[in-house]
Symmetry: none
Subunit: 201 residues, 4 copies
């Protein structure tokens, strides 16, 4: 597949001939379907992002509990990139080579999905299961965390199972790292309500 070659050798390092060889077709054939090497590459990226979305969607399709949907989505996201390292490369390459082109495919996808997660969180807040924090910001934070985790895993060769990583992430995101006492002290100092909407328990 073209994605594998691009991922292995990078966009500038990939000769279209190599992609042709990988696919077992002539170089000209590729140019019949993609006007330029660039379009060929972008199609591969797009395909990757679509598969990510499909896998995350599939992971939550039978899950009703909103909190559990978050749990499953985080796991599915990490699982996808764990199994598709080539996709991470493609995302990097896209950004590096086509800076001035358009919003990278990953962020197109992100923008298209983010609303659903915000809605989900708003429901959790109404149900008093989530603290009353601005959901948009929380979704951003979690999105960035996942994005950063994916890249770091790939670049720095993190050696923890994606299941363990999901657990670590959710532990921090759900409960935070501070003790109750410390948090209350800080909240008092800053003058913030401790638990959203003044509700304590």
């Amino acid at each position: 597949m073209a994605a594998r070659v691009f991922a292995e050798r990078g966009f500038p390092g990939t000769d279209v001939q190599e992609v042709a060889d990988e696919l077992g077709v002539g170089k000209g054939t590729i140019y019949r379907y993609f006007p330029t090497k660039r379009e060929l590459f972008l199609a591969a990226v797009d395909r990757g992002v679509r598969r990510l979305r499909a896998q995350v969607d599939a992971s939550v399709i039978d899950v009703d509990d909103p909190l559990e949907r978050i749990v499953q989505a985080v796991r599915a996201y990490l699982a996808f990139f764990d199994a598709n390292a080539a996709c991470v490369e493609l995302l990097i390459q896209e950004r590096a080579e086509f800076k001035d082109h358009k919003k990278p495919a990953y962020f197109e996808h992100r923008d298209a999905n983010i609303g659903r997660w915000e809605d989900l969180m708003r429901g959790l807040v109404e149900d008093r299961r989530m603290r009353d924090v601005p959901v948009q910001r929380v979704v951003d934070v979690i999105g960035d965390l996942l994005y950063g985790t994916m890249f770091t895993n790939h670049f720095a060769g993190r050696r923890r199972s994606f299941e363990q990583q999901a657990e670590d992430i959710l532990d921090v995101v759900f409960r935070g790292i501070l003790t109750d006492r410390e948090w209350k002290k800080r909240a008092a100092a800053i003058g913030k309500p401790r638990d959203g909407k003044g509700v304590t328990r």
Copy 2:
């Protein structure tokens, strides 16, 4: 400066001649100081990472309280990349072009610094200011979150001030998003101690 040109045009898109023009020297002169275009680029990346480290270090130098050191470091990190967008580009370019080279400069830096933050957190746990969670994992999570935030800001054009972002991040990391009640319910269900070492409050 070379970094600016590389950041603007990307590594493959940059002619050494352009760097020479930017610096106001002859192309040959650059080759007197850097054996290849590649080394010239890597030197620019290295310089960027060093400046990041210096800025973060400076931000905590007069801060004694460990928790406050975290707060300041997070702010300094985001402030640095906010003010040095070119550096983000350089980090991406480095990864995209030199996949097979060595650990990227950013991660070299990360590995060199991570121990200090783990030590700091271990102290917080001992002081019962942080829940007793494995510090290594927490440091990873926070590192990934910052890394992902930096990239997302740059790529997707996030329009929130870095101060606000720091606050959002710290709010989630310090306290998590769940209400107390929800957390306890989950903790009970999973069979986890709620607040580290069985300590409640």
Copy 3:
């Protein structure tokens, strides 16, 4: 028609696909009838030259007076290229692309026809209607003049009607540009008989 496409885009600039599109057939079909693009092109040129010949021949078919045949042929020649600019292009293209091939089609045609005109002129000389100059040379001069006129019209965008041009050409060719007095002076100086075979009138 193939000729139009070749004329518009030049031989190297023309894809066989474009010719196929113009004709409303598949590319493969063209290759059923012409073994190569080159042969396809040469066939178009040949067709053009044949049409030129037919038009010139038709213009003199009912003309008995030899001098009038010349007049009509000159007009027909200029009229043809005036109405078939694409043919001029084809003649140029043929020469430019197939230098080493064979005598260009136009000159094949020229050689095939030149004898008839020489015979015609010989008759005029015998009838004392033409000066006794070597007919071969005169035919060459007139042929070159027409050839040059056709090209110049096409390339430089001459804006005179072909009828006017025919008249201008015949005026010069029939009578020359000098006054009688000047001509006699020159002839005396060079030692040439003034009017062929010493005949004055």
Copy 4:
């Protein structure tokens, strides 16, 4: 020289590498001085046209008699292309490959020079050495005749010396081909003055 290679192999048939080899330099060196193969070619054409002009100008520089200037210019023109067959090829190639570019170099040159010859002829008419025919048209006719002669020589391999050709051309142009009697008959029939301004002899 680049001109020779282009003339020998045609523009599309010439690899820039071949020009480089001919010149004994690297291919890249050529691209330092000419941005494209096309510009390299056009520069060669331009140089040829300039040399033509210089040679024709030189041939008349010491000649005072206007009629003799015409004689010498015709000889110089034919002599130039006789000695520089490559130039003819270049002129053809230019037209064939760059149809849509601009007025071909030859015609630029033609337009720049034609005025001088028209002036010269006007003087001849005033001196009653030339029949009173529109000089512009006569200059066109002679220009086309020379142009056509040059091409035909090159394409059809005419085997007459350029001196002989010049003589043939001038004989026709100066005196025309008809006998006096025939011309007068025609002139009477058409109702034209026989010798310009009613002058007979």
